[in-house]
């Protein structure tokens, strides 16, 4: 309803425009209890993962500190042999479930963030190139994307995992597993980013201001970065958020198929994979707590992504 051509009224300058946009987002955030609660949950979980070494009462990744006899201690009750008590009980290796969850979440989040970052970088770069350059570059990139889509993500991840395991020297495999997971999930997820960015690029490329920038001799690279990319950023941000949740779940799924984080340095997914074996046996805490943590984490991220999508798309408001 406001008038874009009014010089007398103080119109915000571009920089302030950005801030106004920000404050719009902030406004929408303040008025969405779901978004606020989700953000709070994500913040708490991420922080406790980051500061796990200081929060966790034990270091489950230090095998020397474990006492196998502490295994299967129920939450809050003392162990029959050692008399030790654990807040959320212990797992089959005598690891404190609470500490293991904190450390596991660290791995899950690290894998998730890195995989999404990788997918985003690959996807954005290829999408920009495809959209802007067109021609055979576009054909090759988009055909590759088709091939990639042809292979379902979990299969891609399984194959990459297999290959990486094969070519990694055995002594590094333990450490490599996590990076391989990142690579596998990241490589199976770039297509979405590429498609969105390519779409936005195709639209923006023909806009007058981009044409103008081209006419004044700006280099393609700078045009893409300065003019085209910002227009695709909202969509990329939304996809990235949703992808983060997906990546964390994907890691768990891969773990079920036996290609997840190693059991000595378990992620949330590995913990759930191990825990599901105790579904019927009465040691419910080994499954329940990691599963709840994963649910809280993924659900909050998903809800945030949902909110972000609606909030960044003014047409949906």
């Amino acid at each position: 309803m406001s008038d874009p051509q009014n010089p007398a009224e103080t119109r915000p300058a571009p920089g302030r425009m950005a801030r106004a946009w920000q404050s719009d987002l902030a406004y929408s955030f303040r008025h969405s209890p779901v978004a606020m609660i989700s953000a709070l949950v994500v913040a708490v979980l991420v922080l406790s993962a980051v500061f796990a070494p200081w929060i966790a009462p034990h270091n489950p990744f230090d095998p020397g500190s474990l006492n196998l006899m502490n295994g299967f201690t129920p939450p809050g009750a003392p162990n029959a042999f050692t008399g030790d008590t654990f807040l959320l009980g212990t797992d089959d290796q005598g690891r404190d479930v609470f500490s293991t969850i904190l450390y596991g979440m660290r791995i899950s989040l690290f894998v998730g963030f890195s995989a999404v970052l990788l997918a985003m970088v690959i996807g954005v770069v290829l999408g920009l190139l495809a959209g802007y350059l067109g021609g055979w570059v576009e054909s090759v990139i988009m055909r590759t994307a088709d091939i990639q889509l042809t292979f379902p993500a979990i299969l891609v991840a399984m194959l990459i995992f297999g290959v990486a395991k094969g070519i990694t020297p055995p002594e590094y495999r333990d450490q490599m597993a996590i990076y391989v997971l990142i690579l596998a999930i990241g490589l199976s997820d770039w297509v979405q980013f590429a498609r969105v960015v390519r779409g936005a690029t195709l639209v923006e490329k023909n806009r007058d201001y981009v044409q103008a920038a081209r006419l004044v001799g700006r280099r393609p690279f700078s045009i893409m970065i300065r003019h085209i990319l910002p227009n695709a950023l909202n969509a990329v941000l939304v996809i990235a958020t949703i992808s983060l949740a997906l990546a964390i779940i994907a890691e768990a799924t891969l773990s079920f198929l036996g290609v997840g984080a190693p059991p000595t340095k378990p992620s949330l997914g590995t913990l759930i994979r191990i825990g599901q074996g105790y579904m019927f046996s009465g040691e419910w805490w080994i499954l329940l707590f990691p599963a709840l943590t994963l649910l809280a984490l993924a659900l909050s991220i998903n809800l945030l992504g949902d909110w972000l999508r609606d909030a960044l798309n003014p047409r949906l408001r």
Binding site: V34, R143, D146, T150, F151, G166, L295, D306, L316
Partner: protein, 327 residues
Amino acid sequence: MLAYIIRRVAQSILVLLITGFVAFSMFSFVGDPIENMLGQERTQADVDRLRGQLGLDQPFVVQYGKFLQQAAQGNFGLSYRQGREVSAILAERLPATLELAFVSGLLALGGGIGFGILTAIRKRGFSSNAIMTLSLVGVSLPTFLIGILLIFLFSVELGWLPSFGRGEVVDLGWWTTGFLTVSGLKALVLPAITLGLYQMTLIMRLVRTEMLEVLRMDYIRFARARGLRERSINFRHALRNTLVPVITITGLQLGSIIAFAIITETVFQWPGVGLLFINAVQFVDIPVMAAYLMMISVMFVGINLIVDLLYFAIDPRLRVDGKSGGH
């Protein structure tokens, strides 16, 4: 139109070849099939003999060439694990997966489109918000866990539904179906929910977003201004326009249902190709793995092609300039 199809088919074949090549180059890293094929009393001579027989001592390029040559004649070789023709095994296992995928797909499409429309039309209603949030719970847990939870609840605790298998199937000669028996239908329930839940959420979200966009279009306002009924506006006008982009993604989603069936089939011991593939991976049954991947690729390429053709059916604008394949 014909030229377009021909070009797409040619591209698809290229995609298949590359897929196969990539897959083949990876098999050598999955493990060594020989260990599984010989008993513990085998001698080194047995190992060498078998390796030579299987051609595993040759570079993978040669192996791939041989595979292609035979595959072109419809021969995928014998399974290392079962010693039976891979094509026969696949044909035997495919109905189970396709029936499961079909029901899950139906569930995902029906539920996804239905809930998507509902949440788009009642954008701010309580029920919409509840559906949106609840659906996210379904995608915030790994599929295998959802499957096991369902088994725990509905098989072990309540005893309502079977925990594994397809139940009684009826053999129609070239197809086995679980649709014709009570136990077959019961057996479908849990796996179909497990498999369809994730896709349903995705489709629902997609439909909602697209529908909200469409509902803001001028032609919807114009339809309203002409006094058309809400039902006609929502379904005849809005939904139809929503479906165009939804079809692409949905098509691809239906493909990944077949891929995700790997997990569901493992959890529910569903005798489909997904379980076959997992067994093949564990046993390093290369002929089965190769054939499965080829089959999946063919399916995906086929689905892609069908999706493109559906575009023509739905969107009259594309019928004129047959070149644009999508948005």
